[in-house]
C-alpha cells in the first residue's frame, strides 16, 4: 500500500532532480523552499503523538524552513542583483544524471540499512539521504556562492528528515534550538554573500581562492 | 749499574754507526768516503761554535733540540741493547716510548715552524704526515707481539732469548715484521727512499730542511738525537734479525755490534741502490709496511687459536 507521505516524497525527489538541473537561482530557491515545507510536515504524518506543543513546533518549523530561510536568500539575490551566470564546476546535465544515480543508490543503501521504521514509508529514508547528499553535491559542484548556501540548506533539510524519521525522541526545545542555529547560520551566510558581492562584484567562489599554500 | 753502562755506550757509539751508512754509500759511489769517526768530528765542531738565532724564533726553537734529544735518549733507556735488561722497564713502556718519540717529533716540528720559513714549514708538514702511518705499523707489530708474548714492554720482546721465542712461535711470518720494521726505520729516520739527507734541493727534503736554522751546539743536539733514534730502530731490527743470545755475557755486545753493522749496511745499500720516491709516492711505500705487519698479524691469528 502506498502511504500518503510517499506521494509527497516522490514529489520531493523530483524537485531534487530539478534543483540539480536548473541554472536559475530563483528556481532553485523554490525547490529548496518546497523541500523545507515537506520536511517540516512529514513528522505530522508519521505517527508522532501530536500534542499542542508539537503542533506549534511544526508550524514554526514550517514557517522557518519553508518561508523565512528561502525568503532571506531570495532577498539577497535581489539585493546583489546578479547579472552574470556563473558556470558550475559540474554541468547541469551531468548533475542531473548524478542525481538519478544518487536516488537509486540511496534506495539501495536504505534497503540495506534495515532500520526499524516507525511506519511503513518506503521512500522516507531514500528521500532523506538523497536530499542530504544532493545538498553536499551542490556544495561541491557549484561555483556560485548562493547555490552553495542553498546546498547547505538542502543538506540541513535532509538531516532534519533523517532525524525525524529515525528518532521518536522529540525534544521540541532542543529541535527548536537546532532550527534557530540553522536560521542564524543562513543569516550569517546571507550577510557574507552580500559582502562578497560588495567586495568582489561577483558571487563566484573562483575569486575566493587566494588563501592557500 | 750494567744497564746504565750499556746505555752510555750506546749513546757514545750511535754516531759511529751512522757513519757506516755514509761509508757504504761512498763505496757504492766509488769514492773513498769520509772517515768512520766523521760524526764525532762534526759534533765536536758544532759544540765549539756559537749560535745564530733567527729573529722570528722564540723559546720553542731552543726547546726543540733539547726535547728531541732527551726523548730519543730516554727511549734508549727502555730498550734492551744486546739483550741486556734495560735501565727501566714496565708493562706498557712501549706505548710510553712511542709517544715519547712523538713528543720529540712535536718539538722538532714546532721548532721548524718557529722560524717562519716556508721551506721549514714544508718539511714540518711531511714530518707530521709520514710517521702517522709508521705509528700504525708499529702498533700493528705491537699487537702481534702482544699476541705472542702477552706483554707490553720492550724488555719482554728484545731482551735475552725473547726474540728467539718470538721467532719460534711466529715462524717465518716474522720476516714480514722485520721488513715492515725496516721500512719504518727508513721513514722515521728520513733515509732514502723516503727522504734524502744528502740532497741539495730544500724543496724535496724532510728532516734536513727542518733544521736549516739551527746552528752550533743546538744543531749538535739534533744530530745526536737523530743518531740515537736511528740506533733505537736499528737495535730493534737487529735483535729480530739475529735473535741469538749467549749465556756468557761478553759475547752478546760483540754480536750486537756485528748485527747492528749489518743493519746499517743494509740501510746504506738501500740508499745506494734506490732513488728517492716522489713525495706523493712515499705514503704508498710506508703503507707497504703497514700491510706487511697486518698480514703477519692475520696469519699469526690463524696459527694461534
Amino acid at each position: 500500500m502506498i502511504h500518503p507521505v510517499d506521494t509527497i516524497l516522490s514529489l520531493v525527489l523530483l524537485s531534487v532532480l530539478f534543483s540539480l538541473g536548473t541554472s536559475h537561482l530563483t528556481g532553485l530557491i523554490r525547490f529548496v523552499a518546497f523541500q523545507g515545507v515537506v520536511v517540516s510536515i512529514v513528522p505530522f504524518f508519521i505517527g508522532h503523538e501530536m500534542t499542542g506543543g508539537g503542533l506549534l513546533f511544526t508550524m514554526v518549523t514550517l514557517w522557518i524552513r519553508g518561508v523565512v530561510i528561502p525568503l532571506s536568500i531570495y532577498l539577497v539575490i535581489k539585493r546583489v542583483a546578479i547579472r552574470r551566470e556563473v558556470e558550475p564546476i559540474i554541468g547541469y546535465h551531468a548533475s542531473l544524471f548524478a542525481g538519478l544515480v544518487l536516488i537509486v543508490a540511496a534506495s539501495v543503501v536504505s534497503y540495506k540499512l534495515n532500520v526499524p521504521l516507525i511506519m511503513k514509508s518506503a521512500l522516507l529514508i531514500p528521500t532523506a539521504i538523497t536530499i542530504l547528499v544532493t545538498g553536499m553535491f551542490l556544495l561541491m559542484a557549484r561555483r556560485n556562492a548562493i547555490a552553495m548556501v542553498l546546498g547547505y540548506i538542502m543538506m540541513e533539510n535532509g538531516i532534519y528528515l533523517v532525524g525525524t524519521t529515525f528518532s521518536t525522541r522529540a525534544h521540541h526545545i532542543v529541535e527548536f534550538g537546532i532550527l534557530l542555529d540553522v536560521l542564524a547560520g543562513v543569516m550569517v551566510m546571507a550577510i557574507i554573500l552580500q559582502n562578497i558581492k560588495q567586495k568582489f562584484d561577483v558571487v563566484d567562489t573562483a575569486v575566493l581562492r587566494t588563501l592557500k599554500e | 749499574m750494567k744497564p746504565i753502562y750499556i746505555w752510555c755506550l750506546a749513546m757514545l757509539l750511535a754516531p759511529f754507526f751512522s757513519a757506516i751508512i755514509i761509508k757504504v754509500k761512498a763505496f757504492f759511489g766509488g769514492r773513498k768516503g769520509s772517515p768512520f769517526l766523521i760524526n764525532y768530528y762534526t759534533l765536536i765542531k758544532l759544540f765549539k761554535k756559537g749560535s745564530v738565532y733567527s729573529t722570528s724564533t722564540t723559546i720553542i726553537f731552543k726547546l726543540g733540540p733539547i726535547i728531541s734529544l732527551s726523548s730519543a735518549a730516554t727511549a734508549l733507556m727502555f730498550l734492551p741493547i744486546a739483550g741486556i735488561a734495560p735501565v727501566f722497564s714496565f708493562n706498557g713502556d712501549v706505548l710510553f716510548v712511542l709517544y715519547l718519540l712523538g713528543l720529540g717529533r712535536f718539538f722538532t716540528i714546532a721548532a721548524a715552524m718557529d722560524t717562519a720559513s716556508p721551506f721549514e714549514g714544508m718539511g714540518a708538514a711531511r714530518e707530521a704526515y709520514f710517521p702517522i702511518i709508521c705509528e700504525a705499523t708499529m702498533f700493528m707489530v705491537l699487537i702481534l707481539f702482544y699476541k705472542l708474548t702477552g706483554e707490553l714492554s720492550l724488555a719482554s720482546y728484545f731482551s735475552g732469548n725473547n726474540p728467539a721465542i718470538l721467532w719460534n712461535s711466529a715462524g717465518s711470518t716474522m720476516l714480514f715484521v722485520v721488513i715492515a720494521l725496516f721500512i719504518v726505520l727508513l721513514t722515521e729516520n728520513s733515509r732514502v727512499p723516503v727522504d734524502d739527507p744528502a740532497t741539495h734541493l730544500e724543496l724535496t727534503m724532510i728532516h734536513e730542511v727542518m733544521v736549516l736554522d739551527h746552528s752550533g751546539p743546538d744543531f749538535g743536539f739534533i744530530e745526536l738525537a737523530s743518531f740515537c733514534k736511528l740506533f733505537f730502530y736499528s737495535t730493534i731490527v737487529s735483535r729480530l734479525l739475529f735473535p741469538l743470545f749467549f749465556p756468557f755475557e761478553t759475547l752478546n755486545p760483540a754480536l750486537e755490534i756485528c748485527s747492528l753493522i749489518c743493519v746499517y749496511v743494509a740501510a746504506g745499500v738501500t740508499e745506494s741502490v734506490m732513488a728517492r720516491y716522489r713525495m706523493d709516492k712515499v705514503p704508498k711505500f710506508i703503507l707497504t709496511s703497514f700491510a706487511l705487519a697486518s698480514f703477519a698479524t692475520v696469519i699469526i691469528m690463524e696459527f694461534i687459536k
Binding site: 526499524p116 552553495m148 547547505y152 529515525f166 525522541r169 532542543v174 547560520g185 550569517v188 588563501l211 599554500e213 | -
Partner: protein, 474 residues
C-alpha cells in the same frame, strides 16, 4: 549559577553593540573578570544545573571552562591595548562578538545533552564569524566564508551523528535522557553498529571544528585573518570546545566497549593532522598561518594521545590545557609583531630580539613551550603520550609520531629563528610595547610553567576523573 555564567556574557555582549569604544573595552575586561570569578566559584562549589537534562558540571567541562575563563580574561586585558593600537573600525561588533563567543563557549563546556552540545558548538561558529571579518579585507572575507561554510557543513555531520546515536538508543531499546552522562552509563545496551556510525559522523563533524586534518582546511585561513585576540581565542579555546564533543562521545564508546574502534580513528586522524601540519609549517611564509598549523599539530597530538588511552590520555589532557595557554600567548604576541612590523610575512620581520625584546621573550618562550621544551607543560604531556603509545604497543605509529614532531620542530624553529634573529628591512617598530600587551602573555606562560611542576589537588583530581572512563590516568 551555571546559567548566569552563560547568560551574563551574552547580555553584556548585546550591550556592547551599543556602547562607545572605551566603555566597550572596559566591559570586555569586566565581564572577563566576572566570568573568571564565577568559574572559580563553580570550580569550588560544583553546583547542580537548573536543567539537569541539558546541562551538567562534568570534570572535562570544568577544566575547559576554567581555561576559557582565564584565557578570556587575559585576552580581554590584551585587547584593550591591542584595540587602541590597531584602530579597528567597527569595534563594537568586535567587542560584542567576543562576549557572545564567550557565552557560546561557556555553553559548550556546560552542555551535557548531545543536541545541546551541537547547538552550542554551531553557535560558536556563528558568534566567531564576525570576529574573523573584523578587518574587512578581501582576504578576511574569504576566510570568513570558508570558516562558516566548512564548519557548518562539518558540524552538520555531527548533527547527523547525534541523530544516529539516538537511533542506536532506539534500536537498543534504551530509555534514558539523551545526555552524555546518561548514555555513558547505559552505553553497553546501545546498538554498536549505529553507535559506531554515529561516532564516525560526530568525529568528522567536531573534528572539522577542532582542526583535524584533512578537515582542518578553514583553520589557517581563519586564524591568520582574524585579529590576534580573536585568533588567540579561536586557537586557545574554540578548538578545545570541539575536542570536548569528541572526548565525550569517545567516553561513550569506551563505556560501550568500542574503545579500540574510536581509539584507532583518533590515532589515525591525529597522525594525519601532525603530518599535514608538518607539510605546511616547513615552508611557511606567514607567521600567523604557521601558528595556526601548529594548532593543527597540537590538536593532532591531543587526538593521538586520547586515542592511545592510559597515560597517553592523561598526557593529552595536559597537552590540551597547556596548548591553550601557550598558543593563545603566541597568537597575542603575533599581534604585537603584526602591529610592530605591519606585515604578516615572515620575510618582512626579523631581529625581534632586538627590536621588540619584551615580545621576543614571550614569543620565544611560547615557541619553546609549544615545541615541548620544559619548563612548559607540553613537554610533560608529550612525554606521557610517547611512553603511553609505546606502552599500548603502538610502536610503529609512535615512531611516525616522533619523526613528524621532529620535522615540525625543524620547520617551526627555522621560521622562529628568522623572525627572532635574522636581519630585517624594517627601520622602526610602529608600536611601543605597552605593559598590557606583554604581561598577559607572560601570565599565560607563567601559568603553564607553574602547572608543569605543581598541579592543585582538585585540578589533578579533575583530570583523573575526566580520563578515568577512557582508561586514562596514571
Amino acid at each position: 549559577m551555571i546559567e548566569i555564567l552563560m547568560l551574563a556574557p551574552f547580555l553584556t555582549g548585546i550591550m556592547a553593540f551599543f556602547l562607545p569604544r572605551s566603555s566597550g573595552r572596559a566591559l570586555l575586561v569586566l565581564t572577563g573578570a566576572f566570568h573568571l570569578g564565577l568559574s572559580v566559584l563553580i570550580w569550588i562549589k560544583r553546583p547542580v544545573a537548573l536543567f539537569p537534562d541539558y546541562f551538567a558540571v562534568t570534570p572535562e567541562g570544568l577544566l575547559s571552562l576554567l581555561v576559557i575563563s582565564l584565557l578570556f580574561f587575559l585576552i580581554a586585558i590584551y585587547s584593550t591595548g591591542y584595540l587602541k593600537a590597531a584602530k579597528i573600525k567597527s569595534e563594537h561588533i568586535f567587542t560584542g562578538s567576543m562576549l557572545i563567543f564567550l557565552a557560546t563557549m561557556t555553553m559548550v563546556t556546560m552542555s551535557d545533552h548531545i543536541m545541546v552540545m551541537w547547538i552550542a558548538i554551531e553557535a560558536t561558529t556563528l558568534a566567531s564569524a564576525p570576529l574573523i571579518y573584523t578587518h574587512r579585507t578581501k582576504a578576511s572575507l574569504e576566510a570568513t566564508w570558508k570558516y562558516v561554510l566548512i564548519c557548518s557543513v562539518g558540524i552538520a555531520m555531527a548533527l547527523l551523528g547525534s541523530v544516529l546515536i539516538t537511533l542506536a538508543m532506539d534500536i537498543g531499546k534504551v530509555d534514558a535522557p539523551v545526555s552524555f552522562s546518561a548514555l555513558t552509563s547505559v552505553a553497553k545496551q546501545l546498538d554498536p553498529t549505529w553507535l559506531k556510525a554515529g561516532f564516525v559522523f560526530i568525529f568528522v563533524g567536531y573534528g572539522t571544528k577542532m582542526g583535524l586534518a584533512p578537515m582542518h582546511t578553514w583553520l589557517p585561513d581563519a586564524h591568520s585573518e582574524a585579529p590576534s585576540p580573536a585568533s588567540a581565542l579561536l586557537s586557545g579555546v574554540l578548538l578545545n570546545c570541539a575536542y570536548l564533543g569528541i572526548f565525550k562521545t569517545n567516553k561513550i564508546m569506551h563505556a560501550a566497549g568500542l574503545g579500540d574502534f574510536s581509539g584507532t580513528i583518533l590515532i589515525v586522524f591525529g597522525l594525519i593532522s601532525i603530518i599535514a601540519a608538518a607539510t605546511f609549517i616547513l615552508k611557511q611564509t606567514e607567521y600567523k598561518r604557521m601558528l595556526a598549523y601548529s594548532s593543527v599539530e597540537n590538536m593532532g597530538i591531543i587526538a593521538f594521545g586520547t586515542g592511545i588511552g592510559g597515560i597517553g590520555a592523561f598526557g593529552a589532557i595536559i597537552c590540551l590545557i597547556h596548548h591553550s595557554l601557550i598558543k593563545s600567548s603566541l597568537f597575542l604576541t603575533s599581534g604585537n609583531i603584526l602591529l610592530g612590523y605591519g606585515s604578516g610575512l615572515i620575510e618582512k620581520t626579523g631581529r625581534l630580539a632586538k627590536l621588540m625584546p619584551k615580545s621576543f621573550v614571550a614569543f620565544f618562550g611560547g615557541f619553546a613551550g609549544i615545541s615541548g621544551f620544559p619548563p612548559f607543560g607540553i613537554f610533560i604531556g608529550e612525554l606521557f603520550i610517547i611512553v603511553g603509545a609505546f606502552r599500548t604497543g603502538h610502536f610503529f605509529v609512535a615512531g611516525i609520531f616522533i619523526l613528524s614532531l621532529c620535522v615540525i620542530f625543524a620547520g617551526f624553529a627555522n621560521q622562529v629563528m628568522k623572525i627572532s634573529f635574522h636581519d630585517t628591512t624594517a627601520e622602526e617598530i610602529k608600536i611601543t610595547e605597552k605593559a598590557s600587551m606583554v604581561w598577559p602573555q607572560y601570565a599565560l606562560l607563567l601559568t603553564s610553567i607553574v602547572l608543569c611542576f605543581w598541579l592543585p589537588d582538585s585540578l589533578y583530581q579533575t583530570i583523573i576523573d575526566a580520563v578515568a572512563t577512557i582508561g586514562g590516568g596514571y
